[in-house]
Amino acid sequence: MQQRLLSWLAITLTVLASAWARSSAGDKVLVVSDAKLEAAEYSQFWDGLKNRGYELTFRKTSEEAPATSSFDVPSFSHIIVFAPSTKTYPADISPQSLVHLLSDPTQPTNILFVLQPSTPSSPLRDLGREFGISFPPPATPLIDYFNAVSPSNATSLLLTPPVTPHTPGFNGGDVLYSGVAHLRSNNPLLVDFLNAPPTSFSADPLEPADVIVEVAASGGEGFWAGGRMGLVTGFEVLRGGGRATWVGSLDLFRNAATAINGKPTANNAYALALASWTFQETSVLRIDSVEHRRISESSPRDQYRIKDDLIYRIHVSAYNPATGEWEPTSQIDDMQLEFTMLDPHIRTALSPVQGEKGWYETKFRAPDRHGVFKFIVDWRRKRYTALHSSTTVSVVPFRHNEYPRFLSSAWPYYLGALSTSAAFVLFCALWLLGGNEEEKKKTQ
């Protein structure tokens, strides 16, 4: 365990040391692609990443090295699965091990999946399904006659992705997209970045009409069409904040796509923006510390009493890619604290503290119920790192000497007790005194 911890520490240290690395997770990127793929055609994308301070390592799917991890310690911070079409992968980039790398709770490896223009290879299809993403049948790219670049080829479309704070560097503009669409399940971990236009559908580009016909026959069953379909979809794993992004189009990254018949497109900027979200540059948050105590006291306890007045504080900071540093943030305005035993007994808002940047706090009174409670903060917003913190304390009842001593309602009892004992004393006294006299009488 120590060794593991140390290595992890070491890596973070290196990250911080190399201040020009933009990612909060590290700067080593492995690009996995087919042998026949021309890396030069995507040089702008690579250069963009390099300028950001990433060091890229290229690897063909046919090769064994460099391995994604050695002895369960991941050797890269990010992986770009760049449109491989092979049926079989080496063991260390098999779907299982990719998921394993991505979902490592302490040191996740972010993955950017770029899919073949027409048909993603079958292992990737299966992998997508695990994420809750399903693809149309093979060789059915996305077709849209309304957003097509030219009526001649309806498979390459001009789309305008929304501008969000999560994709910095992309400030609007058209993006050339030609590739497959996919369908998202209702998995809450999925994040939609770019949806297909409502007029689009996926079909065999040679005779697209057939699909319409048979679908019409089957009453719309299995019709891959409309704005529900996704083109670019992000994913953040439940624990550890690892991120993955599925991009349906390889051309999005192509140099050629940066300008379409003279007019420049925003492809490169968009691609890099996607990469920056995937590689945990943007909208990365973390909980630094958590405090809880009685309002009257200064240090925390592991036992509180029922009806205690408690204060709970939490410190959140966000990663700033520009400086590569963690900065306290007070931007979150909808964070909640739950004081839970089986069910939340108290749910209250955590409001930022004026003057103390990054601190959020709330004051409340412990419920009149003893037991083992948990302070739970569970803040999940799409595209942001999920914040989760759970602290266990036990709430105990009054001690025996903490109850009120004298009750006004108990006066009858007090009086009764006093009078009885007084009478007893009196009786004893009289009896003792009188006893002798009787004896005297007897003796006489």
Binding site: G219, L342, G371, H400
Partner: protein
Amino acid sequence: MTILKLPTFAPSTLTNAASLIRILALAFIAGAAISSRLFAVINFESIIHEFDPWFNYRATRVLASQGFTEFWNWFDPTAWYPLGRVVGGTIYPGLMATSGVIYNILHALHLPVDIRNVCVLLAPGFSGLTAWATYMLTKELKDESAGLLAAIFIGIAPGYISRSVAGSYDNEAIAIFLLMITFYIWIRALKDGSVLYGTLAAVFYFYMVAAWGGYAFITNMIPLHAFVLLLMGRFSHRLYSAYSAWYAVGTLASMQVPFVGFQPVLTSEHMAALGVFGLLQLVAFVETIRNLLASKQFQLMLRWFLIAAGVAGGLIIVGLTVTKTIAPWTGRFYSLWDTGYAKKYIPIIASVSEHQPTAWPAFFMDLHMLIFLFPAGVVLCFKELREEHVFVIIYSVMASYFAGVMVRLMLTLTPVVCMTAAIALSSLLDTYLNVDEPANPDANGVKETATSGAETPVDGTISKKKKKGVAAAAAAAAVTPSIATKAKGRSSAENGIFGIDTRILVIGNAIFMLVMFVLHCTWVTSTAYSSPSVVLASRRPDGSQNIIDDFREAYYWLRQNTPQDSVVMSWWDYGYQIAGMADRPTLVDNNTWNNTHIATVGKAMSSPEEISYPILRKHDVDYILVIFGGLIGYSGDDVNKFLWMVRIAQGVWPDEIKESNYFTPRGEYKVDDQASEAMKNSLMYKMSYYRFNDLFSGAPAFDRVRNQQMPKEGPKLDYIEEAFTSENWIVRIYKVKKEDPLGRDLKTAHAFDGGKRRKPSKPISRRKALAA
């Protein structure tokens, strides 16, 4: 005339010698009582037994380490997670307080005895005191010799040993002593109507209340006694003062125990005492009036007034009960009368093995010859019907009924059986050791007592305890002649026993019986009642003893290699042991106060994985512990208790859990191929038999408890994983997995890791989407 010239002593020497012998005999008896309870320590080790004692032991440690006030305010967050338990207010602290005091005294004397040993040896120590108390009480009933016999009986009677062997550190350990001493002092108070003794009885009654829930027995026995005496027209001011003193002080004192609180004035169990108290006041009042003025009509009027007042009082109590101002009988108490009640409404109580009714072999096992000396003794009590005899008669009736209803109440029966049996036997000995003879004298009677004296050691040289036992009996016998002569000196004229052979025959037979009794007790104690169910012992083929220590193995693993705060779920039987030995939070334990919580565990155990998983996560369960005896044939395992889990769960969720689903269509309880689906999918079944087949490497697995052949295909687990299994597979611990990082259900995730493909999903058409 006599068959034997007794050497004549001065009466003072005689009494001194007798008292000396008595003291020696009592000492020996105490020794015998204690040593016969040490089998457990000798065969195994100085260890706390069974289940509840582990909690008492844990509580005592807290008491000894943190002092009484801390113990008083002790809130235990690890029990009944996450509800916690206010221990200070939910226990009878008498036991812990007792051993705490002993512990502190020893340490003050610079005798650093381990608290564990104090707890282990507490029960035997108090059994010695019990013998003494019984002696005193029986002495009040008949005489010293009967007292000695009663003492030796209670000392080694299995019925009492079963709950007081070394290591069974439970409330009963001290409660029986308190029972006897309270009764003794009550009788004394009644005999010489002393307020002092009445108060003393109240003090011991308070101790009893603080020590055992069974105090209700005293609370109803003494009023019943008083009431019966009233009916028999034996009202006296002795009765009045004794009872009033006892009731007033005792009730006030008992209300100081937090767990009892205001029950003495609010619950039906205690109403009898209150009612009799009131009745006595009335009667006393009436008596005084009558003594003062003696007009016939007035007295008649008084009597009617008395009756009317009594009836009115009774009606008031009934009314209060109906209007729920007075709580009705608690379930445990009520189930004593309405025997079907528990099984129907409180299955948890019914599920406990020691709450089952008693078959006759248990009686003979626990009491041997006493069981048929008992009625004889009762008849003799009727012969001279003094107040204390009335008491014993009521006691015997009550206790024998309770013992018949519940096995564990054999405990309350044993003392009265011992006393009455002692009365019977000692009167036999009195009659046949009396050297006076009614008619024509017989010369050579000298060798009679010689032989009878000689016989005793000869018979008594089987084992140490027995020797002590018989020695005591002989001592009793030896004491009797002196008293006998004194007692029967006058009556010897008209009736008595002729000849020596008759005497030898009867005495010999009696002694033979005693020897049988001692043998029986020794055998029963050593075989039946001396195993700490924590450690199991089995015999190897070569006959040597093989210790099976799986429980402690697993518990200790939990203690050493899991995080301090990881919650362990198990069936409630093991809650106290886990808390005591593994020192981990538990969901439910043997203090079964929260039916719903237990039912939750039952549901989790008897539901399929995917239904149990949310329950487990909600209760932060990290580990699940099950007991599985299928490999070595340990029959007390969880699969055999499973039906109770189902029943208790069904009580709360009748629509989700159905007992009938766990039986085969033919109504059998099976775990093999024919096992019902609900059974096969239940978490309990899966955890018990997970990878059980692999152990047999190809050959079909065989469950040695159910004697059934397991199915070829063993169960699979998706939501939990095996964490630890003890050497003989008795204890199996499973770890609850965390949610899947990709948000899948764990079944799919598991399948994916196994390399299975999922079938692709297709988009549903809009129209359908709207419909759905």
